[in-house]
């Protein structure tokens, strides 16, 4: 009996951040919008109708005039909203397919092996997600993940003709897509590689699929060889298992404004540590060392530049935010020099281990069980009443060094005091 060939789907939200903003702003349904990075720095997302006017990554301060001129509405990034909407989309997808790999905030691979009517399932996913969340998605279906990605790209490119669903399990359709897609659009082909491939006469996805795998491996890497094999329909990548716990955890952010004094930087470092230790406990790890670093702006020629960091070993592997914060503030004291305008701090948790995995020496102290319990109470309270409800006293509620988010929408779905208000008039 022959094995059923695998079938993968890639479901991708169209202009996800912009689409989220539109769900609760129907008045902007036909108004182009852009979403800005942290501190309102640069453009990180554009609605479809803003794309002709604004490039990805353009700094906000440079394009203010242009936005006004074209009536494009800017938003600060509202990750509470995007995170919640993403979870809704993913939960809906999970309810319709056998297995899901959430690939990013707005993309998921799904396993569709053995399903008979793929096209109609694809359309059902699309209509169901659109109806239940207001987020438009594209669906690509094929025998490998790389081809599913390509099918999805085609669905997006030919939205009107395809209705947002493209199934290229059929070799004739697959070949059409391969011939009509630039090699730069293939998953994993970067700009630099594109130049190289171009030199080798590989211009379309079809050229890459037909290229000799061994030559590819010799000239580039085994990764691109796999990509080429996947393009011909030989699956090399499977639906991924959830990520293994991270070996390092980082929390680093720009301050909303330059900081010259030590106390507010201490607050920021304590706040970043609060967040980093939450991530640490969420993956059930302990950490043995931390690194704290700070720096000034690096690009302003009139400013004195300084950057420094220090690693501190902890007395025992821990996830206790109190001990971690004490160590972080201590580290900061060592690297802080007066007379500079600081723009950024970073907290890094290093040498992570799982409890029970590290070898204790007989006389070593380990984290007291009380501390572990206090931390689980802390996480439970914050999980229930929202992040930051219970926090170290050194972390202010509304710091003046906090992120600049001047055009942020409401947290419509996660804050009771910010719900969408509908008028009965």
């Amino acid at each position: 009996m022959s094995k059923v060939p695998p079938v993968f789907g890639l479901i991708d939200c169209n202009s996800f951040y912009a689409s989220c903003e539109r769900v609760f702003r129907p008045d902007l349904a036909k108004v182009p919008i852009v979403v800005l990075s942290n501190n309102d720095g640069c453009v990180i997302a554009r609605s479809y109708d803003a794309k002709p006017y604004v490039k990805m990554g353009e700094p906000y301060f440079q394009i203010k005039q242009k936005l006004k001129q074209h009536g494009i509405v800017p938003f600060s990034s509202n990750y509470a909203l995007y995170g919640d909407m993403s979870e809704r989309v993913m939960t809906l997808i999970e309810s319709m397919v056998p297995a899901v790999e959430v690939y990013s905030i707005d993309e998921a691979f799904v396993d569709l092996t053995g399903i008979s009517d793929l096209d109609s399932l694809g359309r059902k996913i699309r209509s169901q997600v659109l109806r239940c969340t207001g987020i438009p998605v594209g669906v690509g279906i094929a025998h490998t993940k790389t081809l599913a990605k390509l099918a999805n790209h085609t669905a997006k490119r030919l939205q009107a003709q395809t209705g947002g669903v493209v199934n290229i399990c059929d070799p004739i359709k697959r070949d059409w897509v391969l011939r009509n897609t630039d090699v730069a659009e293939v998953w994993g082909v970067g700009r630099r590689m594109k130049v190289h491939l171009d030199g080798m006469g590989i211009k379309t996805a079809m050229d890459l699929a037909k290229a000799d795998p061994w030559t590819l491996r010799k000239n580039f890497s085994v990764v691109i060889e796999k990509t080429a094999r996947e393009l011909v329909g030989t699956p090399c990548l499977e639906l991924d298992e959830p990520d293994p716990p991270k070996q390092e955890i980082c929390c680093s952010r720009m301050f909303g404004k330059r900081l010259k004094e030590l106390p507010p930087i201490k607050e920021a470092v304590a706040a970043y540590m609060m967040r980093a230790s939450e991530k640490l406990r969420a993956q059930r790890s302990l950490c043995k060392k931390i690194r704290v670093s700070i720096r000034t702006g690096m690009f302003n020629p009139d400013e004195a530049k300084y950057a420094n960091g220090v690693v501190i070993a902890l007395p025992y592997p821990t996830d206790d935010v109190r001990l971690l914060t004490t160590a972080a503030v201590d580290a900061l004291d060592r690297v802080f020099r007066p007379g500079f305008s600081y723009s950024k701090a970073e907290v890094l948790l290093l040498n992570l281990c799982q409890p029970g995995e590290y070898t204790d020496d007989l006389f070593a102290t380990s984290q007291p069980t009380e501390a572990t319990r206090v931390m689980s109470v802390l996480d439970e309270i914050n999980g229930r009443w929202g992040r930051g409800t219970l926090r170290s006293a050194s972390v202010p509620r509304n710091p003046d060094w906090g992120m600049r988010r001047e055009m942020m929408s409401q947290s419509y779905t996660t804050r009771l005091d910010q719900l969408w208000e509908i008028r009965c008039t």
Partner: protein
């Protein structure tokens, strides 16, 4: 000081509480064998479902339906809107809360307050239904 941490007040409604009746000494709790899942409003109102949203309501046009200023509404986007549903409608991209009335070919957005006349949806109007209100919640204090 001795304390035990009981499970969280159930959010999903499906969690069975931890039984931590302490029995170091004394009579074991006769209730221990009869623990049931906790009552959960989240589950009654289904607000954890991915297609359900909470919105807040303002204005007085829906008072006849028992909807007052400041009430919370549970909005389900998976339900096919039908005649008689109270809906969040987008009328020319403006969100309104009305009762949906389908009479033959006519679509009417009805208020539940004599002061507010029915709004007939006309040829040039653009109407879509954002979601159907399944419950509303009012605080009485």
């Amino acid at each position: 000081m001795s304390y035990s941490i009981l499970g969280p007040i159930s959010e999903g409604g499906s969690k069975v509480p931890l039984c931590l009746f302490r029995v170091p000494a004394g009579f074991p709790s006769p209730a221990a064998d009869h623990i049931e899942a906790q009552i959960s409003l989240d589950e009654v109102l289904n607000i954890r479902a991915p297609h359900v949203y909470l919105v807040s309501l303002a204005g007085e046009s829906m008072q006849g339906a028992g909807i007052y200023e400041g009430d919370l509404a549970v909005v389900d986007r998976s339900i096919e809107p039908a005649h008689g549903h109270i809906v969040i409608a987008l009328l020319n991209n403006e969100p309104v809360c009305k009762r949906l009335c389908l009479r033959g070919r006519e679509v009417i957005l009805m208020s539940e307050n004599p002061k507010y006349p029915p709004r007939y949806v006309l040829e040039g109007d653009e109407l879509s239904i954002w979601g159907v209100i399944t419950s509303s919640v009012r605080s009485h204090v």
